[in-house]
Symmetry: C2
Subunit: 324 residues, 2 copies
């Protein structure tokens, strides 16, 4: 099978009509018509086998996740997704793998009306790079550098599930053999099929002062907001939103490590003034993911995790560093 | 060394100010302001070690080439480059390698005023994916599907050099040990430091009916124009433009295989009406690369290589298929 057949196979599965796509897959480049009077938001993320996903990951889940982690970056900017490119490197031209991959990618793309407009397929060790483009009204994108002292810190959904799912896959603790199948599957699904919080990000454009998606771990990612905004952040450990699946599978101490240090949840962590809290909680509850207040922006620098008595909790692992 | 240090190192070397970059590297995504009333042209290409470049390639050349092959796609559309993203996967966080890579990338980026606005660095087998964005007046991009029967076929510069350079590197023929060092170095430089024909592509917006860059091989790439345009192409083998370095290093028969089948030259192959030929040849000579008439668009399908008597020449290797 040739490269060109693979591209046709992907294109057939990812056909979404958009008036702003003048020319899609099949030429040297795509020709696109950005909407007048909007900023263009662009991001790219790579997933490498054995680094970002285990070799056991199904092709369909991988296709979904490769797009999801990128849409999550657009969500964190408050942008509305529009176009994607896909650079897929795979060891052999496996038609079934590519078809399944494209199906997973297309399933999520269709939910957000994202058109796949170009890409590249090459042979080599399995890795996926996706590029996404979205729009946002001028000067309205959410950034990392706007947090102010006194702002509240929020996170959407529940966190720690993806790290819990990975622990289940790796059977990292002996007791994980005894986790109920339903909880196990729910956690692994959160790892393999994350939900980018696109609607939440758009809704936060009016309220949030800074925003990031939780990909490397809550402490690490909020650390970026703190650094870029020139502030400190204090988190109340007992407020971190926890799914029932995570509750049923892990002890409190294990949970905290997963929630504060584990990555891959793709929830949004953001800051906003206290007076916006009620509106935010109501709006995001309506969108189905909810938002939980977990801390406060303070003077100084860095992120501190506090227990109920205000003492600092130190964890052994602060998120994920790709070259650690 | 952490991922974030590598990003800083790359950013410091690729700092180009552009007013249309609202927010560059350092957030979840870049925020860009496309110019009003233009189409946006977007392309991506991946280079994998051992597939697209030998392990012996220097980091600086690799940085140049990763951008060059992408700018070449914009050139083939007649677009003016503006922004790039870089997804770099490398086995170890080698500071010297990344610095050299970024220097090579930045050297070419500066020539075209391309701003590096985002990317991703991950650990894994060495591979580089670059995404480039350019602008073109509405409906004016060069495509593959506009060739018409009677059009002339042209190619910029000289072809076969990159394939000749690769043959020299691999010492594929015994006599290559005797090739003069100057010719050897010239051919290898064309392989490792290709020149994207950006100015030529822009100049051709008024004249060419179809255009592609020669990355997979002249016959293979012109085959895409033929297929998308619904025409055939006849090439006169003896007209293919040949550098003095290639002439001095290879016999006629070897040369033809390199010129017709070898890839990686990143010249532009294009079609245009006969009455535009003089203007095109003059304009492209002024731009330094020149253009040579090498054939004709005919009815039917496919690309045929003809000798001086009009007989068809069949080559054993028709360009490069990544999964062949």
């Amino acid at each position: 099978m040739a490269e060109f057949d693979l591209i046709d196979l992907i294109r057939a599965r990812c056909a979404i009509e958009r008036a702003d796509v003048r020319l899609g897959i099949g030429d040297d480049a795509a020709i696109l018509a950005p909407p007048a009077g909007h900023d263009l938001v662009v991001s790219t993320d790579t997933l490498v086998e054995g680094v970002h996903f285990p070799a056991s990951t199904g092709a369909r889940d991988l296709g979904w996740k490769a797009l999801a982690v990128n849409l999550s970056d657009l969500a964190a900017m408050g942008a509305t997704p529009a176009w994607a490119l896909l650079a897929l490197t795979l060891p052999v031209a496996d038609r079934a793998f590519v078809a399944d991959f494209a199906d997973g990618f297309a399933e999520l793309a269709a939910q957000h009306r994202v058109a796949l407009v170009g890409g590249d397929t090459t042979s080599g060790p399995l890795s996926v790079t996706v590029v996404v483009h979205g729009f946002v009204p001028p000067e309205r994108a959410l950034r990392r550098d706007g947090a102010r002292i006194g702002d509240q810190v929020f996170v959407t959904g529940a966190i720690g599930d993806a790290a819990g799912g990975l622990a289940c896959l790796e059977r990292r603790h002996p007791h994980l053999f005894e986790v109920p199948a339903e909880a196990r599957e729910a956690l692994i699904a959160r790892l393999e099929r994350p939900t980018p919080r696109v609607a939440a990000g758009s809704a936060l454009r009016d309220s949030a002062t800074a925003c990031i998606d939780v990909s490397d771990g809550l402490l690490a990612d909020l650390g970026h907001i703190a650094a870029r905004s020139g502030v400190g952040i204090e988190l109340d450990a007992w407020k971190l939103p926890t799914s029932s699946a995570l509750l049923s599978a892990f002890e409190e101490n294990e949970r905290l490590v997963l929630q504060a240090g584990g990555g891959d949840d793709y929830e949004l962590a953001f800051t906003a003034p206290l007076e916006r809290a009620t509106t935010i909680e109501r709006d995001l509850a309506r969108l189905g993911c909810g938002a939980t207040r977990i801390g406060t922006v303070v003077g100084g620098s860095g992120v501190r995790l506090l227990d109920a008595k205000g003492g600092e909790i130190r964890l052994s692992r602060r998120g994920w560093n790709h070259f650690a």
